[in-house]
Symmetry: C2
Subunit: 233 residues, 2 copies
DNA sequence: ATTCTAATATGATATAAGTCATATTATAAG
DNA sequence: CTTATAATATGACTTATATCATATTAGAAT
């Protein structure tokens, strides 16, 4: 849709971090031709649980949560997708309805890539297929870890782990504040707890000198302390 | 190792249920030649968390739990692998240490398939690769569901769901008893709860006419009741 | 049978964490 | 600037579930 220099996937830096890097020049050209860029405002959804996806989305900017509504009406965030990640792959590959919703946690720029291109590349380029498979294997391992954390760690440990995760995956600025700013409610949905519990624990962590904040921005003060807390008791 | 008629993978029925069905006749012949069958007694481990797997295991008989030790020393079962399932694939594909341990929940027969054959087939047979990818995509979806259940459902709901899962995946005999008999402790590890809590809830379910037992064998009496319980309140 | 050990059962208690209520503070909208 | 609305904070209370203790029962070993 857009036609700036960034619209050529061949030159897109973001691609280096996902399975698209295993595509050939010609395949990338096709992707470039058929892809559409779009902006998604904070809070808007990219796709919904139960939808049939017509393609995958490559995150160029911003962060999306992948979440699922539970029977009791609460939203559980299963994964956060940052710049460079491709979302919707699983449903396209399995040819199933999406099991997750994708919602922008801040303003985003995403590229939509029609599933036909993904499927045909999977059928013709074994390197690409293997790369996708490796990514999926990695995602599966991470999901296993989340299962164990959910069932075996206390809410306090999970909140501590969540902040370490945010630092490791999204980084911090020169003053030690996390680049990804989430509301308490968003964090609660990642951790799988009530918003009030999340707020209480964050307050406690601030009092204990583990976390700091400057307005909405949160920062880690004592990383080792957080890690100790997240691991054992 | 063994040489009965069953040792020819080409004829093995079990194969129909896993990704090996996408292999060609010649590939299966190679698998037949290099595979080894072995029996694993109840309680023995097939592989341990942190091990480098030299291949994958195809379950011919019995059931294995795939579990991970949490920091507090408790064992969390992430998945149960029944007849026909291939375990260890994820680690072989990602070329990583295994993130899970596999332990026999009853006496098992498994075939070991060296990773070289798996890797070379992945590199040469796109059908096989796609089949493995589809399986992995399915596993990932299931893992997402487990994450949501773990964080959003009560222990009671999860116990109810576990019995429904056992019925759906392992079946029941003519008298309505589950074919897979697990100890309370095993069930507790699947559900992610304390053994005592698990025992208590099962007792309650028996009193309420949801479950029955005959010695160690457990059976579902009121499936709808269990389902209602597992879903909402 | 008899003994030993593991599995199941149940009570008592402590505690983590959810829920409901109500402030207080930010941020957006007019 | 003022008002409205959303986000954060904290208190009070309830409940689910873990933990510790102790029976009871079943299964294995001798």
């Amino acid at each position: 849709m857009e036609n700036g220099i960034e619209s050529q996937c061949e030159q897109c830096i973001v691609r280096q971090f996902n399975s698209l890097r295993a595509m050939s020049k010609e395949e990338l050209k096709k992707v470039s031709q058929s892809k559409t860029s779009k902006t998604v405002k904070k809070g808007e959804t990219i796709f919904e649980e139960g939808e049939t996806l017509k393609g995958v989305f490559c995150v160029r900017n911003g962060v999306s949560k992948l979440s699922k509504l539970s029977a009791n009406g609460k939203d559980q965030t299963v994964k956060l997708a940052a710049k460079g990640m491709v979302i919707g792959q699983r449903s396209v590959i399995a040819e199933e309805l999406s099991n997750l919703s994708a919602t922008a946690l801040n303003d985003m720029e995403v590229c939509f890539i029609p599933k036909e291109i993904i499927v045909s590349t999977l059928n013709t380029n074994p390197n690409f297929t293997m790369e996708v498979l490796r990514h999926m294997a990695h995602d599966l391992k991470e999901a296993d870890d989340v299962i164990v954390n959910m069932s075996q760690k206390t809410v306090k440990q999970r909140v501590a782990a969540a902040f370490l995760y945010l630092k490791n995956n999204f980084g911090e600025d020169e003053n030690g504040f996390l680049l990804l700013t989430l509301s308490r409610d968003d964090i609660a949905n990642v951790v799988g707890t009530a918003t009030e519990s999340c707020i209480r624990i964050i307050s406690e962590f601030k009092k204990k000198g583990l976390l700091k904040n400057y307005g909405k921005k949160m920062g880690i003060v004592n990383e080792k302390g957080l890690r100790d807390l997240a691991e054992g008791y």
